[in-house]
């Protein structure tokens, strides 16, 4: 698992520009606007020149590539993957060997037990809901227990 993680960390830079922070996005927007202005000025300047369609298309393509490169650079400059969840993955490999399968530590089963409370809240009139939730939970629990006793 460590090998897979190492490879993920080596290559994750490809996705860095999609994990840009607000500051980086703002900076990239500024860079984009500046480039747009420069491009417009250049087009205006070259307007009178006699350029063929192919030459124009080539220049546009080169401009787009350069623009994309500079925007990506601006996005990647101020971005990083420094958030706790990505770091916690490096501990999971050890935890598997210490404690066994990680699925047994998932909070999925705990989340499933919220269902009765959520149902009780939906049935309440949403005004002073806590006593109604408790009452609804007790009713539901009593019915389940009664049903189990009858089946037994």
């Amino acid at each position: 698992m460590h090998n897979y993680l190492r490879r993920f960390h080596e290559m994750k830079g490809v996705f860095l520009r999609f994990w840009a922070r607000k500051a980086a996005k703002a900076k990239a927007e500024v860079v984009e606007q500046e480039l747009k202005k420069q491009r417009e000025a250049r087009t205006h300047q070259q307007g009178s020149d006699d350029l063929s369609m192919a030459q124009r298309a080539q220049m546009d393509n080169e401009d787009q590539l350069e623009c994309r490169f500079l925007i990506n650079q601006a996005l990647e400059e101020r971005s990083d993957f420094n958030f706790p969840k990505i770091h916690l993955l490096s501990h999971y490999a050890d935890q598997i060997s210490w404690y066994g399968s990680l699925l047994q530590y998932s909070t999925k089963s705990c989340k499933a037990s919220y269902k009765l409370f959520k149902n009780s809240y939906r049935r309440s009139n949403h005004v002073d809901a806590i006593p109604q939730i408790i009452q609804g939970y007790i009713w539901e629990h009593s019915f389940v227990m009664k049903k189990l006793k009858m089946e037994a």
């Binding site: 460590h2 993680l5 190492r6 490879r7 993920f8 960390h9 080596e10 290559m11 994750k12 830079g13 490809v14 996705f15 999609f18 994990w19 990083d80 993957f81 420094n82 958030f83 706790p84 969840k85 990505i86 770091h87 916690l88 993955l89 490096s90 501990h91 999971y92 935890q95 404690y99 990680l102 699925l103 530590y105 998932s106 909070t107 999925k108 705990c110 989340k111």
Partner: protein
Amino acid sequence: MTHRILEYILRPLSDAGNNGVDIIYSDQVKHRCCTRVAGWTADHSESATIHAIYFNQCPLCECPADNLGDHPLSGFEYHKRDPIWYLKLWDVKDTTSFQTLGVKPIANILWTIPEVPWDIARADLLHTMFLGIIDHLMEWVQAFITEHNRLMVFEDIRRSILPYPQVFVPRKPYKHLSQVTEKKMRSILKIILAVFTATLRWKNDLPRPSVGQEVEFKKAITCV
């Protein structure tokens, strides 16, 4: 306040671990048991509260917040958090060290109950992996494919997957899924690499990728 409540919960369990407690088993026979707290299933924010660390810190090791995105080399891992050392720092009121270590300077109950392991908060796959990293990865993959004008191909390939046990293939595009559960995420995880690779290697009706794009594609596939 949180740690007072934690003490209220954990102290009796610690005493029961030392002195033992009578527990009636399902066979109605009373047994003397020494209970041990082995883990506390918690997501990262709860884990940060239990360990009294700042939110951008790792609860298990002393990795600085600026290096969380780097993978430590084998043999160069960061120090594990040491409750005995923290207790000593707390006794001398060394708040500067606490700031450096990313620990809140409050009386942490986990330092004073030796029977409770320091790494009590266990890995939470639901929030860290399935609704955390995999969710982010899907966002990155979608953005990457959109940038390279291959989103339609991606969706077509995903939809063309035949039914298979424990593989849920949603009809809707991923970004239109309103509520993503662990079950859906796990089944998406099973197919994502195959679908992503097929999308990037798709050649029909698409312009040939440049050399730079080819390199990016290879990196992205390795990353996923």
